[in-house]
């Protein structure tokens, strides 16, 4: 180390000792900022940040919300929302209760739940916490515990970002590349067109998985496991999910076969795994008559 280098290093150490704590970041940045134009370098860092993003977990909470909004809009374009404020409010209360005890109680714009006006048996979760349950599925739930566990299963998919994990690598790369085009405030027409194309690619992967192909089986089992744990934490009898799944065993009717059987593992396989998980977690909460009563009152209009 020559005299000049020693002096530079000594100066830096002196600055560090003099200021300490958080203020050193500002001072250090100030010193280094003098070496060049900080804003210009900031642009480069933005682009570098774009390049650093490569995996599903690198979407910001706000980006996940905007993906979710469009996924939800496509779901609601296919299945009409049930116009029943009291029932939607009840389902939203059950859903928010279990979400609060999940691993992701806080989400960008809060958790939202909507009943879909179809007899098809299904439940779907858009990224960002927008969750749907069909009237057909509600009719099959024997009690509040079953509904709670099904919603907890969907919350589990969102909490673990299973929807975002269904985005293909090429579309992820396309998304992050187009997002990182330039550090300007709003996109120009050409950039907007490029980023919208990337957005369409992402939506196609997520919606295709949710409605057509179904998640990877391991994600379904993970969501069941998460539902059992979340249900127990909330105070629900986790066997609620098996009581619902039992109604699906051997049922190959068109209505239930359309969505559910195409996108989920067989109910028998799920029941086996859920039972093992419940045994592992024992003692678990029991069903309560007061909850079954309010459930029956809430769903009476669609039974």
């Amino acid at each position: 180390m020559n005299a000049r280098a020693r002096s530079a290093f000594g100066f830096l150490l002196a600055v560090i000792l003099a200021f300490g704590g958080c203020s050193i970041i500002d001072k250090g940045a100030e010193i280094m900022g003098k070496a060049g134009d900080a804003i210009d370098k900031g642009d480069k860092v933005v682009k570098a940040y774009g390049k650093l993003r490569s995996a599903f977990g690198d979407f910001t909470e706000e980006e996940e919300y905007y993906i979710g909004r469009s996924v939800a809009a496509l779901i609601l374009g296919r299945y009409p929302a049930l116009d029943n404020a009291a029932l939607n409010q009840y389902v939203a209360k059950v859903g928010n209760a279990v979400a609060l005890f999940s691993d992701r109680p806080e989400i960008y714009a809060g958790w939202h739940f909507q009943v879909l006006n179809t007899d098809e048996v299904n439940a779907l979760a858009a990224p960002g916490g927008m969750i749907f349950i069909t009237k057909g599925l509600l009719k099959r739930c024997p009690d509040e515990e079953s509904l709670a566990l099904i919603l907890a299963h969907e919350v589990g998919h969102v909490a673990a970002k299973h929807g975002l994990q269904s985005i293909r690598k090429a579309n992820l790369t396309g998304a992050f590349t187009s997002i990182g085009i330039e550090a300007i405030k709003t996109y120009g027409p050409a950039q907007l067109s490029q980023i919208t194309a990337a957005f369409e690619g992402v939506l196609s992967d997520v919606v295709g998985t949710l409605i057509e192909r179904g998640y990877d089986r391991k994600f379904e089992y993970e969501a069941d496991e998460s539902a059992v744990l979340t249900g127990c934490r909330t105070g629900y009898d986790p066997a609620g999910i098996t009581r619902f799944l039992a109604t699906m065993v051997g049922d190959k009717t068109t209505a239930s076969g359309k969505g559910w059987f195409k996108t989920h593992p067989s109910p028998e396989q799920r029941i086996d795994r859920v039972d093992s998980e419940i045994i592992r977690l024992r003692p678990v909460p029991s069903i309560a008559a007061i909850r079954t009563q309010r459930f029956k009152a809430a769903v009476a209009s669609v039974r």
Binding site: G42, V45, E63, A97, Q114
Partner: protein, 161 residues
């Protein structure tokens, strides 16, 4: 360009110190959340926080973080509401706070945003956005969740692992 060894060493020292100092820095990542007096959702609210608010972590208990706001208020936030700010990530990637602070502002509203949604919406009549907006208008307040839990003999304090 040849970088003098001393400069590289100095930059490394600075980066390590930046990272150590930034380790306690957090930023709110969701639209709104609350600073609470205790590490539980039903505890009294100290202040409302919004996306982008800076916090400094001073402690933790399970999934809850004890934090201090920029205005000096103390309280607890759930871990799922906050993240490490971008400038700390930038520091670990070799940038500085000044560079990254400039990028925070530049990145605001970037990526998949309302502008992108509006453009997508214009070309996709099959997507029912008005129904999404109606769905998102339904808000269940924490007090309603508490009442619902109590009525159903459910309970605990919430908050995950």
């Amino acid at each position: 360009m040849k970088i003098p060894k001393s400069s590289a060493l100095a930059a490394c020292v600075l980066a390590v110190i930046c990272l150590a100092a930034a380790a306690d820095a957090l930023v709110v990542k969701i639209q709104t959340t609350q600073l609470r007096t205790q590490p539980q959702f039903f505890a009294p609210v100290v202040a409302n926080l919004k996306a982008g608010d800076s916090l400094t972590q001073v402690g933790e208990s399970g999934a809850w973080l004890q934090v201090k706001t920029a205005t000096g208020l103390n309280g607890w936030v759930h871990r799922s509401a906050v993240e490490v700010p971008r400038y700390a990530l930038m520091a670990s990637a070799g940038g500085t706070k000044t560079q990254a602070t400039a990028s925070e502002a530049a990145l605001a509203g970037k990526g998949f945003s309302k502008q992108v949604e509006d453009n997508y919406r214009a070309g996709h009549a099959e997507a029912n956005f008005p129904a999404v907006d109606r769905m998102l208008l339904v808000k269940i307040y924490m007090s309603q969740v508490k009442e619902f839990l109590d009525q159903g003999k459910l309970g605990g304090q919430g908050g995950g692992r």
